[in-house]
Subunit: 136 residues, 2 copies
Amino acid sequence: MRIGELAERAGVSTRTLRYYESRGLLPAADRGANGHRVYGDDALRLVAQIRTLQDFGFELEDTRPFVECLRAGHPAGDSCPDARAVYRRKIAELDGLMAELRSARDHLTAQLARAEALPPPCGAGGSDTDVPLCGG
Amino acid sequence: MRIGELAERAGVSTRTLRYYESRGLLPAADRGANGHRVYGDDALRLVAQIRTLQDFGFELEDTRPFVECLRAGHPAGDSCPDARAVYRRKIAELDGLMAELRSARDHLTAQLARAEALPPPCGAGGSDTDVPLCGG
DNA sequence: GCTTGTCCTGACGTCGGCGTCAACGTCTAA
DNA sequence: TTAGACGTTGACGCCGACGTCAGGACAAGC
């Protein structure tokens, strides 16, 4: 399988595949006599693993243990301790991030409520204001 | 007040202040004869407003209605309808983002539990593994 | 006159994950 | 034989919010 076919089957661009290779994530199994990259069917699983994790918000570097686990012949990317450690770290990161977002959200909600409770200012920006201009 | 003093009092860099100006957020009140920027005391409030919102995850552009509201002489940055609309939009964005993160977190947690339930693979990455190598 | 301190503008660097283009080689079907 | 579809490498562009450097101007104090 050449890069174009792998790209199409995996639903990514050839540029993406070359980028993965440049990061050492997905080296081509071989090169043809013409220098073209040649991939085995397993490459499809590797790309799918990367994409799945990226969808969960993983950076490329965080997918490495999973990919290497698969390449080592293990049945799943998360069969290896390194990969599971990334799972745990990511879950912790998400928890921390969500806590921050919750805090920000609560703060903003309170600010909005406070602002809305105040009398509307006169001619204060926004074309959809229904308060008459003051003074004059 | 010149840029250095404003920067120090506001707790930002001079580069940041010049950047804000380049974005049209914080034009200097005036220029001295030597071309130096001159700010009034109100600039300090504008910068504080920007930083506060940035801490909540606002992009610079999203702080514009608040800053303009202040510059228009209103008592608070969120006195104006435009600014409050941004509040609402941001809250909605946060809600959406948190929902995504929750979903990802739940998914990862389930994946981790599933992976942990499986028998540990043999010599599968990770130096801290306590399972003996298989085969041999 | 020299140093020190503050200011100016302009421009490139950073980070991640590619998109996009250039300029070229290679393979295949008509 | 030639067009066109595929492949190659290299390099710049993008986004956001600045950091950092280059090169220069101006004022005060010694």
